[in-house]
């Protein structure tokens, strides 16, 4: 615990920034709130970068650890730390926050201060989730992060926003409440510790493991979301404003998957093995069935939402085949999906801001009026369908390879996503962008302005860089994934 507490800064800088933005006032001087938000989003990113540059890739132990007593009465401590897995998500989250603030710059005209504040506070809370090493601290951040997103969907969302917001909130809350019981139970079993790393060492009987695993499964499966508890996601995505969709897809979905890695697998390894066939089946259903569902969507946002579910099915599949390729591939896929889905939703947002329609049939021939946009959108669509040299390919390839090693037919099923993904994404792209100009609304479209170009281009660079040279990402996680697999391989009965 030496030097600057970067993790605490990564959590509290955005939260303080959010409160300041909130205090900075009304819509009359909205630009103040915007600049305050941008400043703190950039500051949040700035304090996250040392986490990566100062990261020691040779060890699997927690780094940048901070520990203070919080509620000594229940032995709850404010313990933060990152390993090779979580550090990537902290970075991703801080980065996406900047994108979201920029993406909402002029688009949001009502209650700007509250909008920016909600995103900044959420960003801080999510950094807290990824770096918490205390069960209660994790839970507190996990639940608290629902509030800003609930408000974001409900206040700035589309026509059916109230339904979507409440559905989102209750679904995720339902999952996490069972987790609370599991956490309390582990507290008892471990003789009064809420430290997650202590729990990793805990010996548990098979019955207990199964119950704990199921509690975690319900909680994280909703968040991922896995088939069949995925139905809140399309609603939430469709109704959320662009920024909300970006955060939801890029970050919030990763929380569930991260939860599997941090809790379910290492705490209940035997139960994880026992339930693996179930998870693999559900994941394959998500990959294939949801892929087909995506194919028939007429709403662009819904299509991308279903494609997210399908991609996340890939992630859970990667986790539960228990080999390094699978898990590393799944993590790469999560990071990549963070960029790609953010870019897809941002692109759709760009179109929606101009046309106020998400229906594919309202578009056609956009390339004729928005060439710069069409080019960038093309890249993202390619990445979404997993084309080589984009980030989407790396993760999918690794997971598919891992799956083939595990069982040929599972690998085969998983690989169909490459076809399905290409089919629904590129078909949508074709219908929206190519062809003759569909109607006079399309003809009046203006190409992206500098602000839009900048944030889309930055995302494009990330997508390409990760596709061509993923080593900086995999290098960081390597030691931690091996450590995790060691935990999973050893029986705790």
């Amino acid at each position: 615990m030496t030097g600057i507490p970067f993790l605490s800064l990564a959590i509290w800088v955005p939260i303080v920034g959010g409160l300041l933005a909130l205090a900075s006032g009304s819509d009359r001087n909205a630009s103040v709130a915007r600049f305050v938000a941008l400043f703190f989003a950039l500051a949040g990113l700035a304090v996250s970068i040392p986490l990566y540059t100062g990261f020691d890739v040779t060890t699997s132990s927690m780094q940048f650890v901070e520990a203070y007593p919080w509620i000594p009465r229940f032995n709850i401590n404010y313990v933060l730390g990152v390993d090779g897995i979580s550090v990537l998500f902290v970075l991703l989250n801080s980065f996406i926050t900047v994108i979201v603030v920029v993406a909402g710059w002029e688009v949001i005209q009502e209650k700007v201060a509250q909008y920016m504040a909600a995103f900044l506070i959420m960003s801080g809370l999510i950094n807290g989730i990824f770096s918490a090493l205390d069960g209660v601290l994790f839970y507190v951040f996990f639940e608290a992060s629902l509030i800003p997103l609930f408000i974001i969907i409900g206040v700035w969302g589309g026509a059916n926003r109230v339904y979507a917001a409440i559905k989102f909130f209750l679904y995720t809350l339902a999952g996490s409440l069972l987790m609370l019981i599991a956490l309390l139970y582990l507290f008892m079993e471990s003789g009064g510790s809420f430290n997650i790393l202590d729990w990793h060492q805990l010996k548990l009987g098979m019955d207990v493991q199964s119950l704990i695993f199921l509690a975690f499964l319900v909680s994280f499966a909703v968040k991922v979301p896995m088939f069949p508890v995925h139905t809140w996601l399309p609603d939430a995505h469709v109704e959320a404003p662009t920024g909300g969709s970006i955060v939801l897809a890029a970050i919030a979905l990763k929380l569930g998957a991260y939860g599997f890695l941090r809790f379910a697998l290492p705490i209940a390894p035997d139960a994880s093995h026992a339930f693996a066939p179930l998870i693999i089946t559900l994941s394959l259903i998500a990959v294939i069935y949801i892929g087909f569902v995506a194919l028939v969507q007429t709403d662009m946002k819904k299509l991308v939402a279903y494609s997210s579910i399908s991609h996340m099915g890939f992630v859970t599949l990667g986790f539960f085949i228990f080999n390094p390729l699978g898990i590393e591939g799944a993590i790469v896929q999560m990071i990549s999906h963070g960029f790609v889905s953010a870019a897809m939703f941002a692109s759709i947002g760009v179109l929606y801001d101009r046309m106020h329609s998400r229906q594919i049939s309202d578009y056609g021939g956009v390339v004729n009026v928005m060439p710069k946009f069409a080019a960038l959108f093309m890249l993202f669509a390619m990445a979404n369908s997993g084309l080589p040299a984009t980030s989407g390919f790396v993760g999918e390839f690794m997971v598919a390879l891992g799956a083939v090693k595990f069982n040929f037919w599972i690998g085969f099923g998983a690989a169909t996503t490459l076809i399905l993904g290409a089919a629904y994404t590129l078909w949508m792209y074709k219908r929206v962008v190519f062809g003759a100009v569909a109607n006079h609304h399309v003809a009046e479209l203006t190409d992206i302005n500098n602000r839009e170009f900048v944030f889309l281009a930055i995302l494009a660079v990330c997508v390409l860089a990760m596709g061509i040279y993923p080593f900086p990402v995999t290098e960081v996680m390597h030691a931690s994934v091996n450590e995790l697999l060691k935990h999973v391989a050893v029986s705790k009965l």
């Binding site: 509620i71 509250q114 609930f150 409900g154 109230v162 339902a174 409440l177 019981i181 309390l184």
Partner: protein, 469 residues
Amino acid sequence: MSFVILLAGTFSKQPRNVAYALSQLTLIGAAAITLFTMDGQVSFTFSNMYVDDLMGDFLKLVVYFAVAIALLYSRSYMNDRKIETTEYYVLAIFATLGMMVMITANHFLTIYLGLELLSLALYAMVALQRDSARATEAAMKYFVLGALASGLLLYGISMLYGAAGTLEISGVAQAIYQQAGNKTVLLFGLVFVVAGLAFKLGVVPFHMWIPDVYQGAPTSITLFIASAPKLAAFAMAMRLLVNGLFEFAEQWQSMLMVLAVLSIVLGNLAAIAQSNLKRMLGYSGISHMGFMLLGLVSGVVGGDRHFALNAYSSAMFYVVSYVLMSLASFGVLLLLSRAGFEAEALDDFKGLNKRNSWFAGVMAMVMFSMAGIPFFVGFFAKFSVLQAVVAAGYIWVAILAVVMSLIGAFYYLRVVKIMFFDEPLDATPISAPADMRALLSLNGIAIAVLGLAPQALMSLCAYSLLGSL
């Protein structure tokens, strides 16, 4: 003791401002005396009728505090409605005196005395708005049912007297410990005592009065009923069950368990259907009291009393946090009401965020806190009770409780939804005196701050209980 000063408050038959000032002074004075005489010793006084211990002192301080806040919140509301305010303050002080007696009682009859003093004052307060049919009806219901409950309690007490031969709480405990007296009679008495207690706490199936009284009474009175008396009822439970009948812990635990589970289920389910916010908060209060009881039932497991301190202090923490949240929620209702207009329907909250985003934020915090979402104090209240329940091995009860909190979250969320997502129906700016705004803001902030740093209050609860177990 603090009773003398409290009585002084009743002689202030002056115009209402004087009455208000005097009652606040009385409360502050009483609080100061309690604070300065607090020495951590357990001492008995008035021929063992009263006990002075840390739990009592702590609860008394919280009660003074809650009553003072309640009076401040209700002042402009009562003035606007020209309800007999002098009497209101006098009754409030009498009710406070009743609560003090209950909290410090060491004798079954003293408890009964305090309870009656509190209840009679409350009946009268509910009926203060004489020309309101609803208020009168509510008062009548409250009185009839309350009298019945008092009768039950008294009957139970007489049974205990018959079996134990004494009514001093420590004496009864000793008699049971020495296995003197007929166990059947004692248990029979216990059942009636629990029933009387359950009525005062307002838990199912003795909850019938709550929704009607909460809705019918003027909002300021509801605020009063929903805050400090809950603390007194908790104190009564501690005195009767823990200090007096601890030997029967297993028996009353199983009774309270049924009451608690029923309250949590019914309170949450019924609250969904309400369109009147006062009624909704009434049902939600039922479920909160059920949750608090869960803390009380986790104290003794299979004769093992190690869990008691943890369990009872979590229940105490729960009730204190509930009072804080309850004050804030009714405070916002009073804030929105003005002369000739009662804010009590859910629709009155529509678009509050557009009218006044700060108080919409405060109300949202209260709602999230009641739903048990972190970082608010309500989360840690639920957390500590659940932790006690899991420690006692009642995993399935804990699961049921969280499932019901999920249902609870729905109707709290609905309030947030109405405030933030809907368009306002009514654009009147909020007019409320500055002291009330300031205090309400502080109340909201306290809910958030205690959610970030609950340790101090938790330890206070645990520490103050140490001497009484």
